[in-house]
């Protein structure tokens, strides 16, 4: 596994740059990851990212777009606004989680 430096700290990532170690992430890191893909974090972004983190911890898998809307309470349309074009991958990236494995 390669490591990369974010905010002067080494973190473990996969080949694409997604973080692979849950506990190496903190919100400061999330902010830097967001900035790296051109997203300025607002409260709404944080609501999604925090849900992703909690849900991953509880379920052991990155939630899909549908799950973020049904269980996380942020509707799909808004997810496409907050994380344009590829919401599932972008929110997972910022939250320091693997890409969602589910199809839907």
């Amino acid at each position: 596994m390669p490591t990369t430096t974010i905010n002067g700290r080494d973190v473990t990532v996969d080949d694409e740059g997604f973080m692979t170690v849950y506990d190496e992430w903190d919100e400061e890191t999330g902010k830097s990851l967001a900035a790296a893909i051109g997203i300025d974090m607002t409260d709404e972004h944080w609501k999604v990212v925090r849900f992703l983190r909690e849900d991953f911890k509880a379920q052991g898998a990155t939630p899909t777009i549908r799950r973020v809307s049904t269980a996380g309470g942020v509707d799909t349309k808004q997810l496409f606004t907050l994380f344009p074009k590829k919401p599932a991958k972008k929110m997972a990236y910022i939250a320091g989680l693997p890409k969602p494995a589910g199809c839907v």
């Binding site: 596994m1 390669p2 080494d10 694409e16 972008k90």
Partner: protein, 169 residues
């Protein structure tokens, strides 16, 4: 093995103004054949691809208000169910197969057809109803799922999907 390098950032292809477009013709009205188009279409939207679904012939049931919630999965004429052909038409078997499939989908967090259409609409997908199918079934726009963009004819569809990748299901 550990390699230290500069921050690796996934590209997400944001810098590429892609005009990739996918059009899926949904022509089947059985529950099992309704899903492939919905799943692929939804995946396309999640990847930033413009999506058009065209519902025609039996696929019209997927967007007909009175029918969309009652699609059936039948083992008759479907060897993939591995039920002996002579037994497949037995009374109650289609009902059982349907409820089993619905249950399996629910466990995988895959929504029922109407809710799946909601998801596709919310993700920016376009739903088109076939003019001929509407006329054959004597159905008007108000008989169809509210998210249907319009009832269009075959030429409209061909025109609208110029340059799109096309899938017939």
């Amino acid at each position: 093995m550990t390699a230290v390098q500069d921050m690796v950032v996934p590209s997400f292809d944001d810098e590429i103004e892609t005009d990739r477009k996918l059009a899926i013709i949904c022509s089947k009205g059985s529950l099992d054949m309704a899903y492939p188009g919905l799943i692929l279409g939804n995946a396309a939207l999640g990847e930033g691809v413009e999506l058009h679904l065209f519902f025609t012939f039996w696929g019209f049931d997927m967007i007909t208000k009175g029918r969309m919630e009652h699609l059936v999965f039948s083992p008759v004429g479907n060897p993939a169910t591995h039920i002996p052909a002579a037994l497949a038409p037995l009374p109650g078997l289609a009902k059982m197969a349907t409820s089993q499939m619905q249950k399996a989908m629910e466990e995988l967090e895959i929504p029922p057809v109407p809710e799946f259409l909601d998801l596709i609409k919310a993700s920016g997908g376009h739903l088109w109803a076939c003019r001929l199918s509407a006329d054959m079934n004597h159905l008007k726009k108000e008989d169809l799922y509210d998210g249907v963009d319009d009832i269009i004819n075959a030429s409209d569809f061909i025109e609208m999907t110029a340059g799109a990748q096309l899938l017939f299901i």
